[in-house]
Symmetry: C2
Subunit: 452 residues, 2 copies
């Protein structure tokens, strides 16, 4: 009996049409990470479960979504699949601190697993590209993380995106200003929904004493006025400063945000690529300083494609040493989905390379010889493996993205010449000696090949 | 209470010192795979368990080592982690055959999981780099797979390795010659141990009627003579042909092996890089034609670093369509371990890039400006995040593999000049204007940076 060839629910295969642009994006991200001095680390996909479920390691929702792992002789509950790269980073730093030294800049790219309810565009295995600077509280590190996001998305030709910054200190000041610091979590939960449910509904949630934050109408208005006006360029910082007055943590926060903006200016990051959003509340239960999210202009419905922030103490679960840091993560799957839907994923795979046809009655030696010669010149070359009709071989070549087909029949063999077919224009150059084939192909393909 | 930061038994972290050379190797492998027209695919780490445990999907030993995966609401036994890339390939091809078309050349690089008993150098998660050509029986495909192994190991600067070839047809002929075809599996198991336990012990196993193959002493001698003499260049094929006579599957096998060797000759693969080993028996219960293994000369104790072969029917578990193919896999972890022990892993990471020092009293803008300028010129540049003593910043730079340190104190700032310290030679060039810094660094670093 045959076994059903489907993947498990919530998982998926990536055929070359999806795997190739992913590879290209990841390569570009790694190039940017490296250019800032980040170094790769790898941690196992499987962790001891207590590492993943320690206090504060993940939200209750995430912990419910953990995949347990068990094998013969093992006990259920001992092992589990990682659900992000942050907890493994904390464990890694605690375990290897003497070997790696601080500050430590690492990136980690790989699959993470969450047993979310399967839904369109939501997968139970997805790829996160994380980069963090641990062991420093310097604002230079915060600025660098923002720059890395900007550079990575720019190199990847992601359409115009905006990195939104906020700072935990501002929301603390805001809450203190209305004497409602103890309502922090409920207020954050409510304002996080502003773009989805609108001001009126958020106001209801802020004032709801049972399910919401239980603020007075005045308090809720104050919060909402501050947030609604607090979205834009540096001017919103001035305005917000007027509203929050002389609160200490607000002062620190404004200084940090302004310094970051100034460092970005010096580094050539445009004004409108990094803006401020006083309503950015995601992760403020976890982050202790700057927080950031990234949306693509016009495609905000996809949510944030890169999020991060500063944390006070990365390793508190595993070590008594205090290890501050700042980092962010690019969600590769969401980004790819966005690029696909916005039409930016195509156009990359320009045709290049050569498929070398196989003719019945022509020994394979000659095709192999010329393919090896082309590859030595940096050109992708494939010998078609079977002597089926040559038109089918060329159609295969075109479908695989080859630019040229090379044809050598018995007659050409005796004269030592080839036909070279351009699989895009369908033009055919006949009776070329081998030197000329290599020259033409190299000229038209080498450049594209390089740029892949 | 603190949580122990250790990884689970049989798993491991890869710090930058190991993750960097891995990245480089994988990049090189991918470049070779692409140059032959292989395209990437990705399948999930988690498969439905019945996909992994179908008849013939894995040996009994491998099936015992499967890791089950389960999450809230799921049932134990439904999901499991993949233990290789071959079974997922078979499922992928069956599921996507209309979309991908045949022949189909794919590579897949990623973690696979086996709950082996933890031991030195044996890990429960390891990386395999697979490449296969499915949908063809042409010998061109067999030759290409061998060439890919050769090219990949050459580009990766693996010390002189030998790809050993054999063919199932030869062992069938050998067994038919002594009328012992029904003893095939036991004979294969015995001769597979020749290099480990020696001729005498193998002879005992071949003649043992209970635990072994139960051959007569003459039969065992015949098998062992054939195998012991059958290791070397093309001459062993002539010799073996004399011994096996006119057996049909032997004739086909010799023709295939000779054709592969001829195609390799035309492609510039040296004679001694690909040899024949009539005793190569691993996987012959699964492979149906050519089989191959790869050892590094002088480091044979590490076993095969790349193995593969031709199979008749990849998708038989999932599809009624017959899908022949040929492929191989490079075992990245074993290769890395070998390179490390043989001293070939170091020397790659030549120092490059610049760490820009931070001085108390000097605004961060200037370091950020120059770092951005260096990165725009393709040079890795990092601003040290804290104004600690400059000697410590430079020591950090040297430990992270930077070639240069750039120093800008308050005095230099006022004169608009920098100190550039070569972190290897410890030479310092003082009072350089920024243009000259960029020029010197670009000259000394750009080339190394390119080659990474």
């Amino acid at each position: 009996m045959l076994i059903d060839a489907r993947v498990a629910s919530g998982l998926r295969d990536l055929p070359p049409s999806l795997a190739k642009p992913r590879e290209r994006l990841v390569d570009q991200f790694r190039r940017v990470f490296r250019s800032f001095g980040f170094q790769p680390i790898e941690t196992p996909h499987i962790e001891r479960k207590e590492v993943l479920t320690g206090k504060g390691a993940g939200s209750e929702e995430v912990l419910r979504q953990i995949f347990d792992v068990v094998n013969t002789g093992g006990t259920l509950g001992e092992l589990a699949l990682r659900f992000d790269h942050t907890v493994p980073l904390a464990r890694f730093v605690a375990a290897h601190i003497n070997e790696i030294g601080l500050p430590f800049k690492r990136f980690a790219i790989g699959s993470v697993f969450r047993g979310e309810r399967p839904a369109k565009g939501r997968f139970r295995e997805f790829t996160q590209c994380d980069f963090d600077i641990v062991g420093t509280e310097g604002v230079a590190a915060d600025a660098e993380i923002v720059m890395v996001i900007y550079q990575a998305l720019t190199l990847a030709e992601v359409p115009r995106s905006t990195i939104w910054l906020n700072h935990r200190g501002l929301l603390e000041a805001l809450l203190d200003g209305i004497s409602a610091r103890d309502r922090g979590p409920a207020v954050l939960r409510a304002i996080d929904k502003l773009s989805k449910i609108g001001r009126e509904q958020v106001a209801k949630e802020l004032t709801n004493p049972e399910k919401g934050a239980g603020l007075t109408t005045d308090q809720a208005d104050h919060v909402l006025d501050f947030i609604v006006a607090g979205r834009g360029g540096s001017a919103v910082l001035d305005q917000a400063e007027g509203l929050l007055g002389n609160h200490d943590s607000a002062k620190t926060a404004f200084h940090t945000l302004r310094t970051i903006r100034r460092l970005l200016d010096e580094s050539g990051v445009p004004e409108d690529a990094v803006m401020f959003d006083m309503g950015l509340a995601r992760g403020l239960d976890y982050y202790t300083g700057v927080v950031m999210e990234t949306t693509v202009n016009g495609w905000e419905k996809f949510g944030s494609i890169s999020s991060g922030g500063r944390y006070d103490n990365l390793g508190s679960l595993f070590s008594q040493r205090r290890i501050p840091g700042v980092g962010a993560s690019i969600g590769l799957d969401r980004l790819i989905a966005l690029l696909e839907e916005s039409g930016h994923l195509s156009g990359h795979a320009s045709a290049s390379g050569v498929v070398v046809g196989q003719f019945s009655g022509v020994s394979l030696e000659v095709p192999f010889q010329i393919a090896a010669r082309l590859r030595a010149a940096g050109i992708t070359a494939e010998c078609f493996p079977d002597p089926i009709p040559i038109g089918k071989q060329m159609a295969y070549g075109a479908s695989r993205g080859y630019r040229f087909g090379l044809i050598l029949g018995p007659d050409e063999l005796s004269r030592g010449v080839f036909h070279l077919r351009d699989l895009i224009t369908r033009q055919e150059s006949k009776d070329l000696p081998i030197e000329q084939v290599a020259e033409i192909v190299a000229l038209k393909c080498a450049e594209q090949n390089q740029s892949e």
